[in-house]
């Protein structure tokens, strides 16, 4: 590239006759001292630069996990609640069911629905059963 640059050798020789001016020693010292100060202040390590990133990522993970954990039973409950609503048309003409006769029946009424309990307590179903449930 430089050979494409216009050039005049006589002019260069004349220019080179100029005294080789240089900065004063005080300027050199000031710049070198500033550079030394910067050198002692080492670059922050990777861990230091990620000081806030790691805890924030961990906290976000915990929040996400808790949210999903709390949402899962609700979804299961609403799935369970769907069944009676689908059955409602059949019950439309019938008289309301009588109130629970005993305390045990009342407890059963407020107890968590059976499928939701199974979701957390029952052992994992065999692969074939899962497929069957999806189908």
């Amino acid at each position: 590239m430089s050979e494409q640059m216009p050039h005049d050798e006589d002019l260069r020789k004349l220019y080179r006759e100029l005294p080789a001016d240089e900065p004063r020693a005080q300027i050199d010292d000031a710049i070198l001292a500033a550079a030394r100060r910067t050198s002692t202040a080492k670059r922050p390590s990777l861990l230091r630069r990620l000081r806030w990133t790691i805890p924030m990522a961990a906290a976000a993970g915990v929040v996400l996990t808790l949210t999903l954990t709390r949402l899962a039973p609700e979804r299961a409950t609403s799935d369970f609640d769907m069944a009676p609503s689908r059955a409602e048309p059949e019950l439309a003409g019938k008289p309301p069911a009588p109130a629970p006769a005993s305390a045990r029946q009342a407890r059963d009424a407020v107890a968590p629905p059976e499928p939701a309990r199974e979701l957390f307590s029952a052992p994992a179903a065999p692969e074939e059963d899962s497929d069957a449930a999806i189908v």
């Binding site: 640059m5 240089e22 030394r36 050198s39 670059r43």
Partner: protein
């Protein structure tokens, strides 16, 4: 091989300095102190201003040590800072448009007849160094910058274009005009 050896590339020295090796910066500094200083003093047209700009350029590099990325050649990076500081200098000096942007037309440049008249009026008694300084000072700043970058920094055409933000063809024109003017101005010394 020590990272501070003279043969080490600018970029390796810069990386070493970024990792805390102050001696790497010293090698780098010694490598460019003379040429950068002369470029700035001769471009700015005075020792006081040139010295101030010189200090400012190095301090910009020092303060922005971690901003330099290995993809940029350090020499080009350093002279780009210098060009930027010169532009700021001309702006602060109250010029309407900074003269490093002036077109290469003769408009705004000193008339050649004036230069010759001044030469006849007493320049011939000046030393060669004096004459070269005076003739450099008569160049439009953009031409002077292109000429000085070529002679002092020894950057190539593409690098000078990158430093100044001008097209390579524009740089060639500036250098050509500068040579022509200097030859005429220095007629008695060449």
């Amino acid at each position: 091989m020590s990272v501070t050896a003279e043969a080490t590339s600018d970029e390796d020295l810069m990386r070493a300095w970024q990792c805390g090796d102050a001696s790497a910066f010293e090698v780098l500094y010694r490598r460019y102190r003379g040429s950068l200083y002369r470029f700035l003093v001769r471009q700015a047209g005075g020792e006081a201003t040139g010295e101030e700009l010189y200090h400012d350029v190095w301090m910009t590099l020092v303060r922005g040590r971690d901003q330099w990325a290995p993809s940029a050649a350090l020499k080009t990076y350093l002279y780009r800072i210098a060009h930027s500081r010169l532009v700021d200098h001309y702006r602060h000096a109250g010029r309407r448009s900074h003269p490093l942007d002036v077109s290469m037309d003769a408009d705004g440049a000193p008339e050649m007849a004036d230069i010759c008249a001044r030469a006849e009026a007493g320049w011939e008694r000046a030393s060669t160094a004096d004459a070269v300084h005076r003739c450099l000072a008569t160049l439009p700043p953009a031409q002077r910058e292109a000429f000085l970058l070529k002679e002092e920094s020894e950057l190539g055409l593409a690098e000078i274009a990158a430093v100044t933000g001008a097209e390579a063809e524009t740089i060639k024109s500036r250098v050509r005009y500068a040579i022509t003017r200097l030859r005429r101005c220095l007629e008695g010394w060449l």
